[in-house]
């Protein structure tokens, strides 16, 4: 396989862990086994304690807006170690978890904050690689 094909193959594999369809927090809370199916066919299960933590951070009305898993988008153009969180409810939750100033629809977080976020929400957050 040529080097270019290898690179293309590697890039195509970067996001296979992402779900085919994301679940809203309300759906996840009402499900007996809250889980999503990833693009590679594997099943990703959310921990109930995390879902309850998220439910405590959001008002009832916003539970439909929060899509799980929350995507931590890593984009090389933002600079190394910088990640973007998009979506109104997602930004609200992440700001509260990280004790940051709430932003409107988009939030930029940095490597130490990504580590804290992943520590507090290991199953309800996932990395997304963008280019």
């Amino acid at each position: 396989m040529s080097a270019d094909r290898l690179i293309k193959f590697e890039l195509s594999k970067l996001n296979v862990h992402l779900p085919v369809r994301r679940l809203s927090l309300r759906e996840a809370l009402s499900s007996s086994k809250p889980q999503v199916v990833a693009r590679d066919g594997s099943v990703h299960t959310f921990k109930r304690e995390e879902l309850e933590l998220l439910a405590g951070l959001l008002p009832q009305a916003d539970r439909d807006k929060l899509q799980l898993p929350i995507l931590i988008a890593l984009e090389p153009k933002l600079g190394r170690g910088t990640a973007r969180i998009s979506g109104e409810a997602e930004v609200k939750v992440v700001s509260q978890v990280l004790e940051k100033e709430p932003a409107a629809r988009e939030l930029l977080i940095y490597r130490p904050e990504v580590a804290i976020l992943r520590r507090k929400l290991p199953t309800t957050t996932q990395y997304l690689f963008l280019w």
């Binding site: 080097a3 270019d4 690179i7 293309k8 590697e10 890039l11 594999k13 970067l14 296979v16 862990h17 990833a38 590679d40 594997s42 990703h44 299960t45 890593l74 090389p76 190394r80 170690g81 490597r111 990504v114 580590a115 992943r118 520590r119 290991p122 199953t123 996932q126 990395y127 690689f129 280019w131």
Partner: protein, 212 residues
């Protein structure tokens, strides 16, 4: 210094090479981001392992102390006899969960701690110290299962990290420098050809002027 690729010095090849450099650079940047994310995950698991190991060792110490007390009070033979009578079947379900496409083990275990009646040895001939020692070992077993899960995760993440690092290094130190070297060669060759052409034209012009 990277060895340049053998390429024909044409404009077509120059365009192709520019595309290849851009693809390799993009791959390198993304794989580096992946590597950083894996490092975060790896250190988090290592931190959890340290905590889990400390807890497991402490619990094992407590368990062995309880067993020593039991051996001293109840007697070695009696304790061994009771341990042979004890029965245990523990259901452990090992599945996988995924961190960035890496399958890491997820161990689900039923409640490890039991009451004295369920352990299988006779209660009227044994001391309460045996119950205490058994209980402490059951707690230790729970910690050890958790530790095994974490260590399995650390190994899986470390393997992926090693693979990703190798790819990033190959791109950073071999492929990209080679492509850039080839690009530089073609650009210099094309410039040289342009200069040659220019000189040739000037020479022809001078010769034509001389003839006139």
């Amino acid at each position: 210094m990277a060895v340049a690729l053998a390429v024909p010095p044409t404009r077509m090849e120059l365009l192709k090479l520019r595309q290849r450099v851009s693809l390799a650079q993009r791959g390198h940047d993304l794989l580096k981001e992946k590597m950083d994310a894996l490092v975060i995950e790896f250190f988090e698991v290592v931190r959890q392992i340290q905590e889990a190991r400390a807890k497991a060792l402490e619990q094992l110490m407590v368990s062995h102390r309880a067993l020593s007390m039991c051996l001293a009070i109840m007697g070695t033979l009696e304790t061994k006899q009771a341990s042979k009578e004890a029965k245990r079947e523990l259901q452990v379900e090992i599945s996988t969960r995924h961190i960035m496409g890496i399958a890491v083990p997820a161990v689900e275990v039923e409640e490890v701690e039991r009451n004295a009646l369920m352990r299988g040895y006779g209660l009227h001939m044994t001391s309460s110290l045996l119950d205490k020692a058994s209980r402490e070992f059951e707690r230790a077993l729970k910690f050890l299962i958790g530790l095994a899960e974490l260590e399995g995760s650390a190994f899986a993440i470390a393997r992926e990290l090693e693979k990703t690092k190798r790819r990033v290094n190959a791109l950073e130190y071999i492929l990209i420098p080679r492509l850039k070297e080839a690009l530089k060669f073609i650009m210099m060759r094309l410039d040289e050809m342009e200069r040659e052409n220019f000189t040739r034209l000037k020479r022809i012009k001078a010769m034509l002027e001389e003839r006139e």
